[in-house]
Amino acid sequence: MKNIAFVITTPPNSNLTATAINIVTAALTMNISVVGVFFYQDGVLNGSQHLALPNDEYQAHQQWQLLHLKYNLPLHLCATAAEKRGLSDDINDNQAKNVHEAFTLSGLGELVELNVKADRLIQL
């Protein structure tokens, strides 16, 4: 059995992200160990706390939150990419804090560590 890590670069309102969620879910239900998901570039928008997609559309951000709850899946937002898109978890400025609690802001070094921990790093 392999360990897998994922890099996600697509935003929640793209169907490419639904594909990524389906692939990650397939891995988890097949008992493949997913050591973590690293969100980079526009992918960090998946971790926004205040996303409001129309009710009748696919709620990508909520799906990530569910995977985190159900499988304890680590969800890392690249901190630099997040800052460039207005996302922050600054505890000194409650108004600026807008990263959902299921996600962790991490440095790019976390991507290196995921690559080391995992047998395979899949970019989606």
């Binding site: 490419l16 594909t19 395979r120």
Partner: protein, 98 residues
Amino acid sequence: MSMLHLVRTSAFQTDDFQQCLNVLQPTDCIVLLDDGCYNLNHDLWQEALNKVALPALYIIEAHAQARAVTLDKEKINTLSLDALMTLICETEKSVTWQ
């Protein structure tokens, strides 16, 4: 060392699939997913068939059906996302063309 190519964009719109074919080796695998499904009807698909044996060419069935892309068993094999995960585990490495 064999490589899995995940192709997510349309060759009618971007250069990604052409670039994929430029690094493709005979022992590699190709999976068409998302808008990559449209490549089945692009002239470049013949190049893929020439470079790689048919058993190593796949398309995600639901992604093709969602786009009304007609499947032809002589040009490609269908795959579920579960089967894609298995294929990922069986191959050594992958590159995503998106």
